[in-house]
Every structure is written in structure tokens, then in C-alpha cells.
């Protein structure tokens, strides 16, 4: 999967808050069309890392390179989906998807056309004129994903997008995400603390240590592509999940002790 130069390179990235280090010297790459997951215990700095890459949180040291060029505060080719629910309650599903294009000054027809394509892709047909409070949690996340995808980002950062969903919806949406990625060849950097999800979706999993967040290990997920959620029942899947958990267990315990104090 690693073809050519990486789209995103993170080098020696660190984040210091006034009284502690949140991210300590983190580095990794993401190549075109790749799906990379970052997994780590709660509070290890996953969101901070992602938002630093997107230029929303200033970095203390280190570099973020997009297609080999260092960027200071984000880049137009980066899209981000946040951990918290973030679709605008004052806009319909369709209007939410049009938002970015509207801000760029796209004509009404053009943005409507692109948003409708996105409705199709995301399987949101029939819900385009609903307001968020009339949508289920899973539908809302689809809208959030669509709102980012309409902008055609070269790399999409997703911060636990399915974190608030029930297990079944989560698995189904994961499968949808894989289908979409297959269709449009989207490059994705995905944050989660769900091991099954990381293995189900990724080409590679980056495992982070408990606070301060460092890269502890990187595991290649050599499951066949294209995948469906049926992959969960394979033996190889179980082995990979075990491998990731082995790496994570110690960190999770450490993090648990940190917070228990």
C-alpha cells in the first residue's frame, strides 16, 4: 500500500501543557490511499495529536509535512471530523454538507450538486432535509463525515467518529466507511480506542503509550482487501486483535493507575 512519497509525515512532534507533557516526540507517516489508525488509552493525547496535525492546536516542537512540505497551521488538503458531535443544529443534513463549499464561494447549483452526490454515497437518501435533532446518532455521524468529504480532502483525520454509537451501528458504519474509502480512494488517519474497530478498518495501527503519548508500536494489518465486517469472525482477525491488546494492556493499566490516583 505504501506507494510513493507519504502524503502526511509527522516528525518528532511534541506538545507540552503548562504542567505536563501530553505528546512526546511522536513520528509516523501516512501514504496515499492508506487507512491508518491511532489507538491508545484514554487521555494519552490522541485528540491533541490530531488537532495539532490539523493546525487547530499549536505544536510545542516537531514538524508536520504534507506531501513533503512543512506546514505551520494546517493545510487546505486536510479534513477533520471531531470526537464531539459537531454538525450544525441550525442547518439541515444537506445544508450541513454544503457548508464548506458555500464558505469557499461555490455557486448554489454546484454545491447542491456535490452535496446530493454525497447524500447518495453516504446512503442518506430521504434524510437530506431533516435537521440534526431529527436524525439518529449514526445518521448524524454520516452527515459529519459527508460534510468533510465534500471538500475532497487529500487526507481525512477522524477522531473517534463512532465513539458515541452502539456496537452494532459502529460496526455497520465502519463497513460503510471502508466501502466509501474503496470507492473514492480516500486516505484516512483514524483515532479510536476500540481495538476491534482499529483492526477491522486499518492497513496499519499505530499504538500509543499512556501519558505522555509516544508511539509504542506499529502493527501492519495484513487482512485481505476489500473487507466486510465478516472479517471479524476470521482467525487472523482474532490473532491481530490479540497482538494489539498485548501491546496496549500494559499502557491501559498504566493509564488506569494514573487516573485512579
Amino acid at each position: 500500500m505504501k506507494n510513493g512519497a507519504p502524503i502526511l509525515e509527522v516528525r518528532n512532534l511534541s506538545k507540552e501543557y503548562s504542567d505536563f507533557t501530553a505528546i512526546d516526540n511522536v513520528g509516523f507517516e501516512v501514504y496515499r490511499h492508506e487507512f491508518v489508525s491511532i489507538i491508545g488509552p484514554s487521555g494519552c493525547g490522541k485528540s491533541t495529536l490530531l488537532e495539532m496535525i490539523a493546525g487547530l492546536v499549536p505544536k510545542s516542537s516537531g514538524e508536520v509535512l504534507i506531501k513533503g512540505v512543512a506546514v505551520k497551521d494546517g493545510h487546505a488538503s486536510i479534513g477533520i471530523i471531531f470526537q464531539q458531535e459537531s454538525i450544525f443544529p441550525w442547518r439541515t443534513a444537506l445544508e450541513n454538507m454544503e457548508f464548506g463549499l458555500q464558505m469557499q464561494g461555490a455557486s448554489k447549483d454546484e454545491r447542491r450538486k456535490k452535496a446530493l452526490e454525497m447524500i447518495e454515497l453516504m446512503g442518506l437518501g430521504g434524510f437530506e432535509n431533516r435537521y440534526p435533532d431529527q436524525l439518529s446518532g449514526g445518521m448524524k455521524q454520516r452527515v459529519a463525515i459527508a460534510r468533510a468529504l465534500v471538500m475532497e480532502p487529500e487526507i481525512l483525520l477522524m477522531d473517534e467518529p463512532f465513539g458515541a454509537l452502539d456496537e452494532q451501528t459502529r460496526i455497520i458504519l465502519g463497513e460503510e466507511l471502508l466501502r466509501i474509502r474503496q470507492e473514492i480512494g480516500q486516505t484516512i488517519l483514524f483515532v479510536t480506542h476500540n481495538i476491534n474497530e482499529a483492526v477491522q478498518l486499518s492497513d496499519r495501527v499505530v499504538i500509543m503509550s499512556a501519558r505522555p503519548g509516544k508511539v509504542k508500536a506499529v502493527i501492519d494489518i495484513d487482512l485481505e482487501r476489500p473487507r466486510t465486517s465478516a472479517v471479524i469472525s476470521t482467525e487472523k482477525f482474532g490473532r491481530l486483535v490479540g497482538e494489539v491488546w498485548l501491546q496496549l494492556r500494559e499502557e491501559a493499566l498504566k493509564s488506569f493507575r494514573q487516573t485512579a490516583r
Binding site: 477533520i80 471531531f82 441550525w90
Partner: protein
């Protein structure tokens, strides 16, 4: 379920009708002194007379003019003030507390000062209404902007929008419900204080009627004045509630 709703509404109106009928009966049977209480039918007759003569419409128009003028002023000052409180958070905190304290105080009792300064006329009434409406408008605008979920703003920053775009397309729409409820609160308070001052000082619109009726022993006019003021307030509040729910269930 619709029929349950219907039954409740019916019960409500039957209760009100029964109350009015009882009043009518008590007066017609001469069980009470007509100086104190009068029959709804007589009040209605007086109302009809005063509508034909143009007196009642003129009173309503005067009240609505005062309310409208006070509301306009309160918006023109309150909305930018609320924005400024948000824009400069340090001052925002300080003045928010001052305004809240003023709002919690019995500001309606300031009206004699307004009378002294603006003279006995609509000026004093409008100034009083302005004061009572401006404070909730400014406070709600401030709170609405301040309490916008930061994640919405982050979406804008993540899309690398200009500050102006974020303010116009994210900040204000997100704060709109709170700002609108501030406007609603403002109008309600303006209406209350305008009618109260009209009654207390006997200048201006519909509030004066009850006062005049009382002092001239004109019982029908007294009750018409009270009913008019109360019905006007209720219609106002009803329309505001409707407007609000219309805006937010679109």
C-alpha cells in the same frame, strides 16, 4: 391523542366561560353592589361603544407605540451591548454581574425618577420600557454568544475560514435561539412595565383606562381597562410564543 388535547382545551374554555357566566349571574341577580363588580356583558357593551368611538383603538395604538419604540431602542442598544460583552470577556464578566444585579433589583420603582427627568409623558414611559427590555436582551445576547459550543467554532477553524465567516455563519446562528429568547423576554418586560406605568401615572394607552375608571367610579370602564390590559398582554405573549416555536421547528 388529539382528542385528549381537545378535551383539555374544552375543559379550559368551559371553566373560563363558567366563571364569566357566574359573574354575569351574580351581577344580574343583584347579589353584589354594582359599584364593585359589573357584568361581563356590560363591559362588552362599553368596549363596543369605545371601539366605535375610536377611543379603545387609540389607547391600544398608544400602548403598542410605546412598546414598539422602547423595544426598538432596547434592541439597538441591547444587541450591540451583548456583543461587546462577549467580544471583551473581562468587561463582559464585570458588566454581566452589574446588569444582572440591576435586573434583580426592583427597577420598576425607578419610574418616579423617569417622570422627573423626562416629564409626565410618553418619553418617561418609553424610557422605562427601554430600561426593562434592554437588560435581558443584552444579557441573553452575551450568554448566547459566550455559551456557543466551541466545537462548532472548531469546525470553522478546521476549514480555515476567515474570522468574519465564522462570526457570521457559525457564531451567530449558533447563538440565535438564546438571542431570540432574550428578545422575547425583553418585549414581555417592556409590555409589563409600560402598562404598569401607564396605570400608575395615568398617561398613555390602555393602562390609563383602569385608573380613570376607578377614580371616576365608572365600574365598566375600570373592568374594561383591566381586561384590555390583560388580554393585550396575553395576546402578545401568545404571538411571541408562536413566533418562537415557528422559528425553531422549521
Amino acid at each position: 391523542m388529539a382528542s385528549r388535547r381537545g378535551r383539555e382545551t374544552a375543559a379550559r374554555w368551559i371553566f373560563i366561560a363558567a366563571l364569566l357566566a357566574a359573574l354575569e349571574g351574580v351581577v344580574r341577580l343583584d347579589w353584589v353592589d354594582r359599584i364593585f363588580v359589573t357584568a361581563p356583558s356590560l363591559v362588552a357593551a362599553t368596549a363596543w361603544e369605545k371601539i366605535l368611538s375610536g377611543e379603545l383603538p387609540a389607547l391600544f395604538v398608544t400602548t403598542l407605540f410605546s412598546v414598539g419604540a422602547a423595544f426598538l431602542l432596547a434592541m439597538v442598544v441591547g444587541l450591540p451591548a451583548g456583543y461587546a460583552l462577549w467580544r471583551f470577556p473581562l468587561f463582559g464578566r464585570a458588566y454581566d454581574e452589574l446588569l444582572s444585579a440591576l435586573f434583580a433589583s426592583p427597577w420598576i420603582l425607578l419610574y418616579p425618577i423617569f417622570l422627573v427627568i423626562f416629564g409626565r409623558g410618553l418619553g418617561a414611559i418609553i424610557a422605562m420600557g427601554f430600561l426593562s427590555g434592554m437588560i435581558p436582551i443584552a444579557l441573553n445576547t452575551h450568554h448566547g454568544l459566550r455559551d456557543v459550543n466551541p466545537i462548532y467554532l472548531k469546525v470553522g477553524t478546521g476549514m480555515r475560514l476567515k474570522e468574519r465567516q465564522i462570526v457570521r455563519h457559525i457564531l451567530f446562528p449558533a447563538a440565535a435561539p438564546m438571542i431570540l429568547s432574550g428578545l422575547k423576554l425583553g418585549v414581555t418586560y417592556i409590555l409589563i412595565s409600560v402598562i404598569a406605568v401607564e396605570f400608575l401615572v395615568e398617561i398613555g394607552g390602555i393602562g390609563t383606562l383602569a385608573s380613570k375608571g376607578y377614580f371616576w367610579f365608572n365600574t365598566e370602564e375600570l373592568y374594561l381597562g383591566m381586561a384590555g390590559a390583560i388580554v393585550l398582554s396575553m395576546i402578545f405573549i401568545h404571538l411571541l410564543g408562536r413566533a418562537e416555536s415557528r422559528l425553531f421547528t422549521s
